[in-house]
Symmetry: D6
Subunit: 113 residues, 12 copies
C-alpha cells in the first residue's frame, strides 16, 4: 500500500482499500464513507500535490485474528502550487484480512502543530 | 463503559480498559501507552473537571470476530476551575472481546474547532 | 413558544417542540437530534444564563398546508457568570401542525458577527 | 437540481428554484429574496469559480404532504483566481411540490470552521 | 433631549422620541424599529452604565420646514461593571416637528476606532 | 440616481446630488462636505473599481413635505486591482425636493462585518 | 504650569490655560476646543489616575514676540485602577503672552509605541 | 504652499519652509530638524509616491502678530509601488512672517486609524 | 534522579548533578553553566510550582564506556499560582560515570507546541 | 564536517555521521533515527536552500574518552525560493570516536526567536 | 555595584553611578540623562518589583586606561503585583575611573524575546 | 567612517573597525566577535540592500583620553528585494584611538518600533 502511495498510483492504492472504508482525515470534520469517495479524494489530491514523501516513525502493529491495527507518527513533505509544504501527526489505521489480503478499512489521522 | 465515564468512576471505567490500551488523546502529541497511564490520566482529569456530560452522535459500529471498532462524533460540556468548557470532535475506538467481555484497547480522539 | 422561552420555562417550551425535532444550533457542528436532547440542552442553558431577552426583527412566515416556516433576525442579550453577553443572527424555523397545534420540528440558527 | 449545480448550468438550476425563494447564504448577513436574485448571484458565482465539486454527507429528508425539507452536511472544493478553496458546513433546504415538481423555496447554509 | 440623556431619565428622553423612531445603532446590524424598542434598549443601557458624559463636537443643523437633521461627532466616557469605557464617532439624527415639538425620528450612529 | 450609479456615470449622478451634500462615508472619520468633493471622490472611485453591482434590501422610505429619508441594507460586489471585493452595511440617505426634483443632501453609510 | 500638573491641581493648572485653548490629545480623533473642556477633561483624568510623574526630555523653545512654542519628548508613569501605566511621546505646545503671563493656547501630543 | 505640494514641486515647496523648520512627522519617533532634512525627506517621498491628493477639513487659523498657527484634519490618497494608500489625521502647523512672507517653521502631524 | 525530581528534593537531586553541569533549558536563550546555577534555578522553580508529575515516553539509552546519553519525550503537568500548566517536548541528557555513580552533566530540553 | 556542510556536500558530510545517528531537529516533533534518514533529509534540504552560511558562537567542547560533546550557538542565513532566511539557536552535538575518527551520533538543535 | 543592585539599595547603587550617567534602558525610546533620573527611576522600580535576582552570563571586560566597558548577557526574574516576570538580554556598560573608583557612566540594555 | 558606510565601501569601512570589534546588532541575540565577522556581515548586507541613507539625530560624544563613545538616534531607509524598508533606533558606539586613528571597537544598536 505504501509503495502505491509513494508512487501516487490511485489504482494500485485502491487495491488495498476496503469497499467499506471510512476515514477521519486530518482536515475532515465529518466522516468520509466509502472506497469511491476515498479514491476520488486521493486522485484529487494527486492532481495538486507532487513529490510527496512520507516517513513513518515508531510504528506499532497489533494483530487479532483477521483484524489488525497500526499506530504510527508520520512526517511528510511535498509540493503544491503554493510551494513546499510539510505536515506531521499521529495515525491509526485498521485492516481486515479478506481472501488472504489485508485491506485498510478505517483511517484516523490527526496532524500536530 | 459510558456509564462509568458519566459517573466519573475510575475503577469501573478501568474494568473496560484493556491492559495494552493505547491512546492518541485529543491533546496528545505522543502515544500514551498502558492502562496504568490511562487510569492515572483519567483520575487526574476527574480531579479538575466535574459535571461533565457527553453526547454521542451518529455512532457506527463494525464487528469482525472478537474485534470491533466504533466511530462517532462527540460533544461534551463541563466545568473546571476556569469555568464552563465545551469540546466536540470525532472519535475512533477499538475493542477486543476477551473472556466474553469487550475491552477498549485503543482510542483516537480528535477535537474539531 | 416565545413566551415560554422568555419565561425560561422548559416544560412549557417542550410542549411546542416536536418529538422529531432537529437543530443546527448557532454553535453546533453536528446535527442535534430529538426533543429530549433539545430540552436537555435548553435546561442546561437556563442554568447558566439568566435575564435573557430576545428581539425578533422582520419575521416572514410561509404556510403550506400543515407545514410552515419562519425566517427572522434575532438580537438577544443576557447574563452568564462571565457577565453580559449579546448575540444576533438569522434564523429559520420549521413548524408542523399536529392535532391542531403547531410544533417546531427543525431550527437552524446562524449568528452573525 | 444537484446535477444542474454540478454542471454549473444556471438555466437548469433555475427550473428547480421557486419564484418565492429566499436564502440565508453562508456569507450573508441579510435575507436574500427572490429567484431573480438567487440566479443572478449564482451566475455571478459561476463566473469566478470553476471545477467545484460538492459532497453531501448524511442527508436526512422529511416529507409532509407537498412540503419537504432536507438537512445535510456538505464539503466542497473548487478554484477561483485566488487558487483552490474548500468549505464545509451544515445545510437546511425546504422544498414545495407544485404541479408535480419539487421546487426549492428556502435555503439556509452555515459554514463550519 | 440632551439634558434627559445626561440625566439618564428614560421618561423624559421618551418625550423626544417619535413613535415611528428607527435607529441604526453603533453596535447594530439590523434596523431597530419603534419607540418602544428604543426606550427598552435605553432603559436596559442605563442599568449597566453610569456616569456617562457625552461631548458633542462641531454640530451642523439643517432645517427644512418641519424636518431637520443634525450631524456631529461625539465623544463619551462612562462606567460599566467592566470599568471605564470611552467611545467616539459620527452621528446623524433626523427630527420632525409635530404639535410644535421637535421629535427625533431616526438616528444613525457610527463609532470610529 | 441608482441607474447613474449602476452605470458609473459621474455627471448623471451629480444631477441627483444637492450642492450642500454632506456624507459620513463608510470609511470616513470626518464629515465630507459639498457636492464638489462628493463627485471628486466618486470619480476617483470609478477609476479604481469596476463591475460594481449593488443590491438594496428592505428599503423603507419616509416622506415629510419636501423632505424624505430612506433607510436600507446594501450588499455590493465588484473589482479593483486587488481583485474582487464585497461589502455590506446599513444606510441612511436624506433627500430634499427642489424644483420638483429629489436631490440627495446627506448620506450616512456604515459597513457591517 | 508643570508644577500644577505634577501636583494635580486643576485650578492652578487652569490659570495657565488660555480661554481659546485647543488640543489634539494623544487619544483624540477630533479637536477639543475651549478651556472649559480642557479643565473638565483634566479633572476627570485626575479622578482616575494618581501618582503620575512626567519627565520632559530634550525640550526646545522658540520665542517670537508674544508667541512661543515648545517641543519635547515626554515619558510618564502612574496608576489607574487597572494598575501601573506608562506612556511616552512627542509634544508641541504653543503659548501666548497676555498681561505679562504666558498662557498655553494649543497642545498637540502624540504617543509613540 | 499647498499648490506646491499638490504639484509635487520640491523647490517651490522649499520657498515656504523656514530654515529652522522642525517636524514631528506622522511616522516619526524623533524630531526632524532643519529645512535641508525636510526637503530631502520630501524629495525622497516624491520618488516613491505619486498622484497624491490631499483634502483639508475644518481648518482653523489663529494669527498673533507675525506668528500664526493652523489646525486641520487631513485625508489623502495616492499611489506607491505597493498600490493605492490612504491616510487621515490631525495636523498643527506654525508659521512665522519674515520679509512679508509666511514661512512654515513647525509641523506636527498625527494619523488616526 | 527522577525520584528526587518527583519528590521535589533539591538536595537529593543535586547528588545526581555533575559540578560541570550545563543546560539549554526549554525557556533558555543562553547556556546555563554550573551545578550551583542549576540547583538555584531548581529550588526557585520548586517555590512556585507544585504537584508536578512528569511522564517519560519512549526513552532510548546509549552507553559508551563511562559516558551515556538518553533521549526521550516528556509530558508533564502541575500547578503554579496561575493555575494548572502542562508541557511536553523532547529531551537529551548526557551522563558521566564518576566513582561508580552516573551524574548528569548536560541537558538540552525543547518543548513542542 | 563543517567544511562539508559549508560546501553542501552530502557524501562528505555522510562520512562524519554515525550509522546510529539520531536527531531532534529544530523543526522536529519526533526523533529522527538513522544515518539514512539524516542524509535523505540533508539532501532534500540542499535542493531547496542555497548560499547558506553558518556562524558558530562560543563553542564549548568536552571530551571523555572516546565520547565528546559540543555546545554552541549558531546563526545562519541563506536563500530558499521564498527568499532570504535567517535562523539562530543553541545546539548540542555528541560525537564518538571509532577507528580514530570522530563521528557525530546525536544532534539536538533548538532555534530561538 | 552588583551587590547594591541585588540588595536593592538605592543609595549604595548611587555611589557607583557617575553624575553624567546616561542610559538606553531596555524599555526606553529616548536617552535618559543624569544620575538623578537614574536613581529616581531605580527607586521607582524598587517600589514595584521585589525578589529580583539577576544572573550574568559570559561577561567580557575591556580596560583602556581609565575607561572600561563590559558586555554580557543577563537573565533575571522577580515579582511585581502582576506576578512573576522574567527577562533576558544583552548589555553594554561603560565605566570610568575617577579618584580610584570605577563609576558607571553609560548603560545600553536590550532585551531579547 | 560614515562616508564609507554611506558609500557602501566595505574596505574603507574596515579601516575604521578595530580588530577586536564586537557588536550587539539590532537583530542579534548573541555577541558578534571580531572585525572579520563584522566585515563579512557588512558585505553580505551590501549585497541585498541598496540606496540606504541614514540620518543621525542628537548625537552626544564623550572623550576620555584615548577612548570615546557616542550615543545617537538613527533613522534610515533603503531598499531590498522586498521593497523599501525603514528603521530607527538608538545606538552606542565605543571608539579607541590607536596610532592617531579612532577605531570603532564596540557597537550596540537597538531598533525602536
Amino acid at each position: 500500500m505504501w509503495a502505491a502511495i509513494e508512487a501516487g498510483d490511485v489504482e494500485a492504492y485502491g487495491a488495498y482499500v476496503h469497499p467499506d472504508f471510512t476515514a477521519f482525515g486530518e482536515n475532515d470534520t465529518y466522516l468520509a464513507e466509502g472506497r469511491a469517495l476515498e479514491l476520488r479524494s486521493y486522485a484529487d489530491y494527486l492532481e495538486r500535490a507532487w513529490d510527496v514523501h512520507t516517513e513513518m516513525h515508531q510504528p506499532e502493529v497489533t494483530i487479532r485474528g483477521d483484524t489488525a491495527w497500526l499506530t504510527y507518527y508520520w512526517t511528510d513533505a511535498g509540493f503544491t502550487e503554493a510551494g513546499r509544504f510539510t505536515s506531521r501527526g499521529k495515525s491509526t489505521r485498521i485492516f481486515v484480512r479478506e481472501d488472504g489480503r489485508w485491506l485498510c478499512i478505517h483511517g484516523h489521522y490527526t496532524s500536530v502543530p
